[in-house]
Amino acid sequence: MPVFSGTDLTCLRGDRLVFTGLDFRVESGGALLLLGPNGSGKSSLLRVMAGLLRPFRGRLAWDDAASEDDDQHGGRIHYVGHLDAVKPVLTALENLSFWASLGGAADPAGAAMAALERLGVPHIAGVPGRYLSAGQKRRLTLARVLAAPAPLWLLDEPTVALDRAAVRLLEGILAEHRAGGGMVALSTHADIALPGAAELHLDHFAPATGDDVDLDSDANGDGEAAA
């Protein structure tokens, strides 16, 4: 049973502390819901979890082995960020099959088609990416997590641009994945049913305002710089 955890994570972006002292733990079948206002660091945390962003302090562990500098980590996750990675000149199916094949699917085209069907958009399979509406693109992007297997899904505001029917579909897909032992971490401002998920409020890990001011003032006062 895999466990993915982070301890004492601190994230610094553009010389500004976004969150600090953050711990989390997701077990097989578990889910983590990232909440918090704009700019509290949900996207940053997901990028840290994916290994795209190096935490300034703290460590990530997969089954108690450090997952940073671990070449395998990328293969264990599916990351869906704000960008859709959809090529306008390739059809939806071609787009999806490519990622399925890189993700190690045995039959990329078949897996891709099945994923599109599961997301309720089999009819866009032959449509070039540039003709897709915002929501259709989003569904195509989400289909990527189904087209190749990976235990940990990292989803950044997956419900953006989805209509209600699609949100229900997504909830079903997430439940299924967890029932099969998968893990999920997702951020959202909207309502999404994720039964039994642990909630992580990013704003609780914001550096205190006092810290901020302290940093500023002593750096300035006697000329020690830069937070």
């Binding site: 960008l83 990675a85 000149v89 390739l90 490519f98 990622w99 890189l102």
Partner: protein, 221 residues
């Protein structure tokens, strides 16, 4: 290795699907050379004298222009992030994309070059060496250029900035490439020039993907 080939295949398909992209480099190459008779005047002997240099400079500029977008679309639409997370090492990603790019843009240059040499009244003695030198030199240009393309991701004014970074690094290729042809035209052996050119390519082949991958990783932070 399978991933590497899949990536090359995808990039080739994208380039061919987009049709014109593949022809742009060669179009620019041709136009750039064709401008010279208008700028310098139509005297045949002057044109013949500068033909090798002009063709090489045009090849440099064409390579630069088309390299600008090597990683750009993948960066902007998030594909590069996903590639970084995939099982393919970043160095292989750089190499695969550069290879696909060279197949699509570099090869047409090599084909078009003799025709342009004819236009500029170059002597026939130089044709073979011209093609050979371009065949060795353009992959080197693509490799060196890929470093610049990776470095300028996310920068403002990517295109012109790229030329500023990379043109100084291109100069050795230009010197030996044009030198080989001049040697042939002056009945000297082009061999040492070509060997040096090959040496540059051999050095760029491992180094460029390393530097390019380092630059890409930073771009994704």
């Amino acid at each position: 290795m399978k991933g590497f080939l899949r990536l090359v295949a995808r990039d080739l398909r994208l380039a061919l699907r987009q049709g014109s992209d593949a022809t742009i480099a060669v179009m620019f190459f041709v136009l750039c050379v064709v401008l010279f008779p208008f700028g310098v005047g139509p005297e045949a002997n002057i044109l013949a004298r500068i033909a090798a240099g002009v063709i090489w400079v045009a090849a440099l500029l064409a390579s630069l222009l088309s390299l600008e977008r090597l990683f750009l679309t993948d960066y902007e639409d998030g594909s590069l992030e996903l590639l970084a997370l995939s099982r393919i090492p970043m160095e292989a990603v750089v190499l695969a994309k550069t290879l696909a790019h060279w197949l699509v843009t570099g090869v047409p240059l090599i084909v078009a070059a003799p025709i342009l040499a004819l236009l500029l009244n170059m002597e026939a003695a130089g044709f073979g060496v011209l093609v050979l030198a371009l065949a060795i030199g353009t992959p080197a240009l693509s490799l060196i250029g890929s470093i610049g393309a990776a470095l300028t991701l996310g920068a403002r004014r990517g295109g012109v900035l790229l030329s500023l970074l990379i043109l100084p690094l291109y100069i050795p290729v230009l010197i030996f490439g044009a030198g080989a042809i001049d040697a042939a035209l002056n009945a000297l052996s082009p061999r040492p020039h070509l060997l040096l050119l090959a040496g540059l390519l051999a050095a760029a082949l491992p180094l460029a993907p390393l530097a390019g991958a380092a630059a890409l990783r930073q771009a994704l932070e």
